[in-house]
């Protein structure tokens, strides 16, 4: 037993309890283990730092994944697929009669289609109107002979209390000059009176006729749309009209003299 005690002592000499000493030592070690205020603060600081670090890492990883799904995956789709066949000029093939025949057929087709397509562009005079930029281009014998500013539809939608409405836009597409006039007078439609808050006169009223506002010439495109002159020259190059195409006096004269009844008008 004594040997055992000695061995035990040797193994744990500090654990040996002496009467009256035990409580003091225990309380001393307890005091030593208790963290100081600075240590406590350091611990909280570390926890906050760890939390912020993991928070940002999580955000970054999530953001990375989202970016990969949105931008990366579509790129992956384009990385290659399908089995490619080779295109090449085979010299032996060019001597083959079947090949020559097929090539001849297709060449003729291309030629025929090219001629047909070229035929769409008239050798006669025509005018092109760009409503986005308010410009016009006059062509004669497939050559540009004049270009300049014009005014086209304002895209204003005039609405009455009763619910009637008119949208002032220039129609797009292919049109033809249906008639040509000199010193045209304007027959004011209903919207013209409504727009200015005036009472609407009867259809045949002389109050509807107004002279001098359309310039010296007018070319009718149908549905009351015209190419004509203007007294509002400062607005040329801007979208301000009720749907007609306005030109300045000099351009209007050239256009009037170049285009004939039946000439094409391309508006885009």
């Amino acid at each position: 037993m004594e040997d055992e005690r000695i061995i035990d002592e040797g193994a744990h000499p500090e654990n040996e309890k002496k009467p009256g000493e035990t409580d003091y030592k225990k309380s001393e070690s307890a005091v030593n283990e208790e963290p100081t205020l600075a240590e406590k603060n350091r611990g909280i600081g570390f926890r906050i730092f760890r939390f912020i670090f993991f928070f940002f890492v999580t955000i970054l990883v999530a953001f990375g994944l989202v970016v990969f799904i949105i931008y990366g995956v579509p790129q992956l789709k384009e990385m290659g697929h399908g089995k490619k066949s080779e295109i090449a000029r085979n010299k032996d093939l060019t001597k083959d009669s079947n090949y020559k025949k097929q090539l001849g057929i297709i060449s003729k087709d291309v030629q025929r289609l090219s001629v047909k397509f070229a035929g769409y562009t008239s050798g006669q005079s025509y005018i092109v109107v760009n409503t986005t930029e308010n410009k016009f281009y006059l062509y004669k014998n497939k050559q540009l002979v004049r270009e300049g500013s014009c005014s086209t539809g304002s895209y204003k939608k005039l609405q009455t209390q009763s619910g009637k409405s008119w949208t002032f836009k220039t129609p797009r597409g292919k049109f033809t000059i249906q008639s040509k006039r000199t010193h045209p007078a304007w027959h004011r439609p209903d919207w013209s009176f409504i727009e200015e808050g005036e009472p609407i006169p009867p259809k045949d009223s002389p109050l509807r006729w107004e002279a001098g506002v359309l310039g010296d010439y007018a070319m009718d495109l149908g549905d009351s749309y015209m190419i004509h002159g203007t007294i509002y020259k400062r607005f040329l190059g801007m979208p301000v009209t009720h749907g007609c195409v306005r030109l300045n006096d000099e351009d209007l004269e050239v256009v009037y003299n170049t285009l004939n009844v039946g000439s094409k008008v391309y508006i885009f």
């Binding site: 093939l93 289609l113 204003k156 727009e195 885009f268």
Partner: protein
Amino acid sequence: MESEIKKEPHRRVTLIVFLSIILLFVVYYSVMCMMSPGKKLAVLRTEYAAKSTEKSSIDKQILKDSGYLKLMKEKAFLQSRIAMAESDSGYITINMADSSANLEICGVVVHKAKISSLKISKILSETNENAILSLLSKPFTISGSTATIMKEPVIVQMAPKDTSEYKPDVMPDTTLTQATNYILETNQGVKIYVYQEEKDKMNERITQLKFDLDDKLKDTWSSLKSVASLKVPEYNLFIKIRLPRADAKIFYRAIPKNGQIALVN
């Protein structure tokens, strides 16, 4: 204190399992998406290539010949233009080989623009593919569009009650410019992206980024839905072009809502 210690490994396991599931889903999603072009090509082959072989008796060797293919493409493009010329409204032709885009009305080129940059689906660039040749040989019809500009910039104005209320029109401000980017979706499943060339203003860059992100989010959402239901997502063939802002605006405003587009590469 003890319960906290016990919770820690449990939390870690949950986190690892959660992250693994997410990663697995991302991998699965990526694989499914990578399969989508192949599926699209297979669909195109059954839809287009079969028809063309039925019609022609040309053997496979001729179909691989560059000279023959060049003529075939030229013929297809002309056929498309002629078909579109029959209508009275404007349409667009995009020639990817010479980087040009034209606006035509009834066969007459009314506006030309130079494409400054071009990016197309890898499938579409495979010109040796018979199905793609057949697909491009007919004009595309626009089925919908998304844009940063209005197609028709309509301004509503109430009519004055009498002459005292009437105010003459003021000069419109034509100096204002808007970022011009749009996507034209076609019935044939090809999406045509048109971006403005100018990148000088920061707000325009942001508008483009936002515009692009919106489209990508829409695509991603639709893909995620397909993948979640164990289907290979739909693959959209695309053509992305950059044009000067003015030209891009002209093209967008000039073509009708269901207008047509012809392509050649």
